[in-house]
């Protein structure tokens, strides 16, 4: 065991740190006040990802022929950590980078890799995920959006829901039913849909946060070339699961959690109640310290997984808990922040006397969404117990 970084890695960290200091987008209130999907805001976000990519900090592990650098996991981890520490904005192309990209690398054709991967990196093409449907949530495999193969084209009809970022996405990776007669897991295909194709309607849904982060997407005789199929026809469930695995790792990442924890401690120290800082209240101290033990456990747990990845070892049952633990932890941190703020907690972003711009209340709700998205905590527990512990299925 060795917890310090190599000289090369330390030097790289310094380099990233300096780069971020000089290149971080300037705070622009006229932009940050816009809705996340506002064209101007999306444009700025794409520019930011492009800049990061040009600096060599995006999807560094991908192979060189598709625009990556074949760097080891450690390098990307360092970049991710430094970005969080610098409070840098996230990447607008995260679904492409974190979900579709790795899936294509694993299961796509050579042609697909060459066509899609480079533009994922540069944010020239933004992707959204067409999975959930009104009648297919946790039982995703029951999905009914139909794709009929006619000649060289799929004709797609149906509806997706909770589709994040569909308003400004260029493409969607989508699960469709190609064989209605087959058992539910064996009649699904995984296809790539150009969002500009005629017959697609995107209708934003307002989340409890007040933002329109996700959408309903309707398909009416939407024509998709057969070449846009990933994996074999009717084998889409396997491809979907590869994507879900990457998604859960992304959602369960606790790099940001550490920063949230620091902010929480700062909040507890700065808020005064009953004539003393809230952080001096015995009960609050217990709660803070309990969260700290959980945050630190996840930090070293992620180091352990990073080491396994570097050594080419299989992640095992340890990786199955990431999504469950990470998302619940983020939400619990926000919940304690609200408790510390008391009557100030529900104040809106623009209200007088609001604390930290209302970020905590927003995050409190947003992180609850992440407990549900990408497979609910309850589904995660099924996965851990069935695949991890070998407990039998319920049915």
């Amino acid at each position: 065991m060795e917890l310090s970084y190599s000289k090369e890695d330390e030097a790289f960290r310094k380099e990233v740190h300096t780069w971020l200091k000089h290149n971080l987008p300037k705070k622009d209130k006229s932009v940050s006040d816009l809705m996340p999907h506002d064209p101007e805001r999306v444009k700025r976000a794409k520019e930011w990802q492009r800049k990061l990519y040009d600096a060599g900090y995006v999807a560094m592990g991908w192979s060189k022929e598709y625009g990556g650098q074949e760097a080891d996991v450690m390098r990307q981890t360092i970049v991710n950590e430094e970005m969080v520490l610098a409070r840098a904005p996230g990447l607008v192309g995260a679904s492409g980078l974190g979900m579709l990209g790795p899936t294509l690398i694993q299961l796509g054709t050579e042609e697909q890799k060459r066509r899609y991967l480079p533009k994922i990196l540069t944010a020239e093409e933004i992707w959204c995920q067409g999975y959930s449907e009104p009648e297919s949530g946790s039982d995703l495999a029951s999905l009914r959006t139909r794709a009929e193969l006619v000649g060289d084209e799929f004709i797609v009809n149906g509806q997706k829901v909770w589709t994040s970022n569909a308003q400004f996405s260029d493409w969607m990776f989508c699960l469709v039913r190609t064989d209605p007669a087959a058992p539910k897991h064996r009649g699904i295909s995984y296809i790539l849909i150009d969002m500009k194709t005629p017959g697609i309607t995107v209708r934003p849904l307002i989340q409890m946060t007040g933002d329109a982060g996700f959408n309903e997407v309707f398909f009416e005789d939407v024509r998709v070339p057969r070449a846009h199929l990933v994996g074999e026809l009717n084998q889409g469930w396997m491809v979907a699961n590869a994507t879900l695995f990457h998604e859960r790792n992304m959602l369960g990442s606790t790099t940001r959690t550490q920063l949230m924890m620091q902010n929480l401690i700062r909040l507890a120290r700065s808020r005064q109640r009953y004539g003393k800082p809230v952080a001096e209240d015995a009960v609050i101290r217990q709660k803070l310290a309990d969260l700290l033990t959980r945050v630190e456990a996840m930090r070293y747990h992620s180091y352990r997984q990073l080491t396994n990845a570097l050594k080419g070892r299989s992640p095992g049952i340890g990786a199955m808990v990431n999504k469950l633990v990470g998302t619940e932890l983020n939400h619990d941190i926000c919940a304690l922040a609200l408790e510390i703020m008391g009557s100030y907690a529900p104040l809106s972003r623009k209200a007088a006397h609001v604390i930290d711009n209302g970020t905590w209340a927003y995050e409190f709700m947003f992180t609850l969404g992440l407990i549900i998205g990408g497979g609910t905590s309850q589904i995660q527990k099924n996965i851990i117990s069935e695949r991890g512990l070998g407990m039998p299925k319920s049915g």
């Binding site: 917890l3 080491t307 396994n308 049952i317 512990l389 407990m391």
Partner: protein
């Protein structure tokens, strides 16, 4: 950056598991629970042959000279097997105290004997107040011409009846950290009386130790007079890590037993493992144990190599594992249903050990407050 185990460490883990499956199955634990002192000389001899009793003892004194992470891995396996006996107190705590603060003469006398398993040591720290801070140490050591005269009572001393030597925390002056001294007292010293305190965890026997004007020579002091707290606070960190490791192994085993049972137990015409109520309990345990494992490794590693982080890391590990082990065994008993509540079933050994581990050397709340202070909340 390498947060993983070496090949040797993985081998140690594996051989320990095999050895304990063979030498310390639940039938053995049950048998030992009926014995008067909960200590098997036979097992002690065999563990010594494996080098375990001397794992932390420097090679020059006949040990293996390994570190805390190696020990934590071994203790994890011992927790898994709920090994009864004084190992943690003798081969970890007493050994570390001598290694850190002992005079050359003390090391020469005791370390080879502790390493070979021929001698057993223990630590007498707590008193009737059950305080973990320096102010809780009031047993008086009065300086005389020949050495010290000890009078007072120590409580909850693990395995005092089978220990050859006790490391006793005494007060030579003052009331706080300054003035705490550590003194080696041999069990046969006149004036020392040892009374067993009946306890529900039969793998951990504890005693009340009374010192009635015991006379010990000056040479019995470990470290300098009045400077004992420094060694003791380091020992508390070590104890936290050791107990956390033991708890980790115990929790993992309790989970495995419970899951195994639910797969074979049928109700409503199906294995109860197919009910989500139980699957989710099991998954929640996994989601607590897996990240906690990294915390134990980190704390053990920090103990030897990152002195500035060591106390914080030990507190993190002890706080978390105190909760996790107790919660896990509670769930594991429930997953067994009625049979889990019987004396006949083995689960209660883990359930009880979890409670002992939880309170020993500070419970979760104690260490959370400690963390709050370290972090400056």
């Amino acid at each position: 950056m390498d947060f993983g185990l070496s090949e040797e460490q993985e081998m140690l883990q594996q051989s320990a598991r095999e050895f304990l499956t063979q030498e310390c199955p639940p039938t053995f634990v049950r048998e030992m629970s009926k014995s008067a002192d909960g200590f098997s000389r036979e097992l002690q001899r065999k563990m010594a042959e494996q080098g375990w009793t001397g794992l932390l003892v420097p090679e020059t004194y006949g040990g293996l000279g390994l570190g805390m992470l190696d020990m934590a891995l071994l203790l994890e396996e011992m927790g898994r097997a709920v090994v009864p006996g004084p190992f943690l107190f003798s081969s970890v705590l007493c050994t570390l105290a001598l290694k850190q603060g002992g005079t050359t003469a003390q090391k020469k006398v005791w370390l080879p004997r502790l390493a070979s398993g021929e001698a057993v040591g223990t630590v007498a720290f707590l008193e009737a107040d059950d305080r973990l801070d320096a102010a809780g140490i009031t047993l008086k050591a009065k300086k005389s011409r020949d050495g010290y005269t000890l009078s007072g009572t120590k409580m909850f001393v693990p395995f005092a009846a089978v220990a050859d030597v006790l490391l006793v925390a005494v007060r030579t002056s003052g009331r706080a950290e300054e003035g705490v001294s550590l003194i080696l007292v041999e069990r046969e010293t006149p004036g020392l009386t040892i009374k067993p305190l009946e306890i529900f965890d039969l793998t951990r026997r504890v005693y009340e130790v009374e010192c009635k004007n015991i006379v010990v020579p000056k040479t019995a002091v470990v470290g300098n007079e009045g400077q004992g707290w420094k060694i003791l606070s380091r020992l508390i960190d070590a104890a936290c890590i050791a107990l956390a490791a033991d708890s980790l192994g115990g929790a993992q085993k309790a989970l495995e037993m419970a899951v195994e049972y639910t797969k074979v137990r049928t109700q409503f015409n199906r294995p109860i493992a197919s009910f989500q109520a139980l699957k989710h309990l099991a998954a929640e345990i996994v989601s607590e144990i897996e990240p906690a494992r990294a915390l134990v490794w980190y704390a053990a590693h920090a103990f030897d190599t990152r002195p500035r982080e060591a106390s914080r890391a030990a507190a993190l590990a002890k706080a978390r594992l105190s909760d996790v082990y107790s919660r896990t065994t509670n769930r594991a008993v429930q997953m067994h249903g009625g049979i889990g509540f019987t004396w006949e079933h083995d689960m209660h050994f883990w359930f009880k050990r979890a409670k002992w581990n939880e309170f020993a050397f500070g419970d979760a709340s104690f260490h959370r407050e400690r963390l709050a202070q370290i972090e400056g909340f």
